[in-house]
């Protein structure tokens, strides 16, 4: 075991510490670059690229070494002259937008010419007019996974029945009660407003059931309000223990606004409280 520890320690000690920071190129000390990185001025080894003074460069730190690995922004290699030169500078349209750069003495430039830009060393510069430039290939479109169906089960956070007051945690379907389940804001928070609801079902957990099917509807409360909830889209739906499908309109209501499910009339049916069955009133919604 001690040997194992030692080996792991050795391996960990051998791991290089690597960081890449943005710095500002200041000058050279003759053989190395001098850059301001992270608030300090340090010497750093250079690769072939020579930045402009003041240019933002990437400094790569590996253990005790720092290397300037190049500019932080792309440097275009060619462009199209936008307008005739002015004050020894010419405006060129490139892949990074319009830049204004000096050009080789003796070149006569006019708008529309394709020109070659020198980018490798010490600033951009137009150094030749190109005979032509093959049109670039259209970039491939990004990979896409397409739309996919999502299904979630939303658990109620509270349930109860209102008859001149919230008097029980069981959910009653009767002429004198409004029963309701509350879900907080999770349904509207999860399902995008633009989603297409494919199915919505409620988990029914029956305590007692008689006579007619209860009328299901939607209400607009996240938690139990002080008064009875108002139900809309009332629909009579026959129930049995387990998942019972609800109209898609319920899902469309719940995806757009905070709300829950309630029952009124019908029955006489008593559905379980959350203390008796935590999945009473759980909503399973599929959308795409």
């Amino acid at each position: 075991m001690a040997d194992f520890d030692k080996t792991v320690r050795k391996k960990l000690a051998g791991l290089p510490s690597v960081a890449r920071l943005v710095g500002t190129f200041v000058s050279t000390d003759g053989v190395r670059a001098v850059v301001d990185v992270g608030g300090g001025r340090i010497p750093a080894d250079m690769t072939g690229y020579v930045p402009e003074v003041g240019e933002q460069v990437f400094a790569l730190f590996i253990d005790g070494t720092a290397t300037v690995i190049g500019s932080t922004v792309p440097k275009p290699g060619k462009g199209t002259v936008a307008s005739a030169p002015l004050d020894n500078l010419v405006a060129v349209d490139t892949i990074v937008g319009r830049i204004t750069v000096p050009y080789a003495a003796g070149l006569s430039l006019s708008a529309g010419q394709t020109v070659k830009l020198g980018a490798a060393n010490d600033g951009l510069f137009v150094y030749a007019v190109m005979s032509t430039s093959p049109p670039p290939q259209a970039p491939p479109s990004p990979p896409s996974s397409g739309g996919k169906v999502q299904t979630q089960v939303f658990m109620p956070i509270d349930a109860g029945s209102y008859r001149a007051g919230w008097w029980t945690n069981q959910v009653y379907a009767s002429d004198t009660n409004v029963g309701a389940w509350f879900y907080g804001s999770q349904i509207a928070d999860t399902i995008p407003d633009g989603a297409t609801i494919q199915s919505i079902a409620i988990n029914i957990s029956i305590s007692s059931l008689s006579y007619q099917a209860p009328n299901f509807g939607v209400h607009g409360s996240a938690t139990r309000p002080g008064v009875a909830v108002g139900l809309s889209q009332l629909t009579a739906i026959a129930i049995a223990n387990g998942w019972v499908a609800l109209p898609i309109g319920f899902g469309n209501y719940l995806k757009a606004a905070v709300g829950g499910i309630g029952i009124n009339h019908g029955g006489y049916a008593i559905l379980n409280s959350l203390a008796a069955d935590p999945a009473s009133g759980a909503l399973r919604i599929s959308w795409v």
């Binding site: 943005v22 608030g39 922004v73 089960v153 999770q186 928070d189 998942w243 203390a275 999945a279």
Partner: protein, 371 residues
């Protein structure tokens, strides 16, 4: 604090009640077994982990038809491939009974399972099955699901929408939404990407007890509960301590802006006992204790300064010192709760919960950090 009825709060505050644990087994968006009695439960929550909650429990099952429920293949009930236990604590006092959702856990391991059998009318039947389960919260699936292709935000308008797309979990948008400041390449670890995005809203994401993904603010809220020692209190024991570990007086930020320029900022404490130097420039008692931050979503110096200021406020407190507390079992206590602790001498201190360990004991162990 988890929500509960006023009655439930009163019962818990008086400390005279009985409680037990129950669990529902969910698989593929369907409940496969209801109200399983569970035994030997340990639930541990720790704020310093990415997957905050883990634990274990034992299920003793006697099947109505004398079958064995031992999982043999992937997809069997209780097999550790997407089976989930919704764990509830039931608080009972006299005729009062309330169910508090405690955790929504993935079964990650079934380290031991055994059947008891007997001969009955010439065949061997199963009289009971004992399963030991190892559990972790739903974030374990996010953690396992590393990005298999290099990925970047699908849109920049909304952090919450992006979190929904990243994790595929149901959400409770508990903090105000904000746009994503910059398109970035996500790290391999999807959980890390989630943490980085949550940073934009100043929140810590966690899997809530009903299986939703939600956030609590990093900033301290006002106290939600008071823990009192003494005869009428629920605080049993507190062990205090102090440490300089992970207390800092300077936060330095080094990052990169939208124009690929360097973004730098630092914040330091210049007054008080934790000052980085004396006013005349000499060495202070605490001396400099810098810590470094980098966040690819911080793109301007102003944002960086605000970031270091908020981080400094967090790391320069004694919050690095953890105090273990023993309190009367309370299912409503949650990670991130800011509570007032009053000891026997009536000294009160504000603290935040960073760890909770529950079992079947009548007390639970809570770890807090001082404000």
């Amino acid at each position: 604090m988890r929500t509960a009825s006023d009655n439930c709060r009163q019962v818990l505050a008086q400390g005279s009640f009985s409680f037990w644990y129950e669990a529902d087994l969910w698989y593929d968006n369907t409940r496969r077994a209801a109200l399983l009695p569970i035994d030997d439960i340990q639930l541990s929550e720790d704020d310093s982990r990415g997957v905050k909650a883990n634990g274990g429990c034992t299920i003793v099952w006697q099947d109505d038809f004398a079958r064995s429920i031992m999982p043999n293949a992937i997809g069997d009930l209780f097999s550790p491939f997407g089976s989930e236990l919704a764990i509830y604590a039931v608080v009972s006092a006299g005729s009062f009974q309330e169910r508090v959702p405690l955790a929504w856990m993935q079964i990650v391991d079934v380290p031991a399972m055994r059947d008891s059998t007997m001969f009955f009318k010439g065949t061997r039947i199963t009289t009971g099955t004992v399963l030991e389960l190892k559990l972790q919260d739903r974030f374990v699936q996010i953690q396992a699901d590393e990005f298999d292709v290099p990925s970047s935000p699908s849109q920049l308008a909304s952090v919450w929408t992006e979190i929904g797309a990243l994790t595929g979990m149901k959400l409770v948008r508990s903090l105000p939404d904000a746009p994503i400041t910059r398109s970035v390449v996500y790290q391999n670890d999807r959980l890390q990407a989630l943490l980085d995005l949550a940073d934009l809203l100043g929140g810590v994401p966690y899997a809530a007890s009903d299986g939703t993904l939600t956030m609590r603010p990093k900033a301290w809220t006002s106290p939600v509960d008071t823990l009192r020692a003494g005869d009428d209190g629920t605080l049993v024991d507190i062990q205090k301590g102090m440490s300089a570990d992970t207390v800092y007086n300077k936060v330095t930020f080094r990052g990169q802006g939208n124009a690929q320029d360097q973004v730098l900022a630092f914040s330091e404490i210049t007054e008080g006992p934790l000052r980085v130097r004396n006013p005349d420039g000499t060495r202070s008692p605490a001396h400099r204790r810098p810590t470094f931050r980098s966040n690819q979503f911080v793109t301007t110096s102003a944002q960086a300064k605000a970031y270091t200021e908020s981080e400094l406020a967090r790391v320069s407190t004694l919050s690095a010192v953890k105090w273990p507390i023993e309190e009367v079992w309370n299912p409503l206590r949650e990670l991130g709760d800011v509570i007032t602790i009053v000891d026997e001498q009536d000294n009160s201190v504000t603290a935040r919960v960073v760890g909770i360990e529950r079992s079947q004991k009548p007390t639970q162990r809570v770890t807090v950090v001082r404000g």
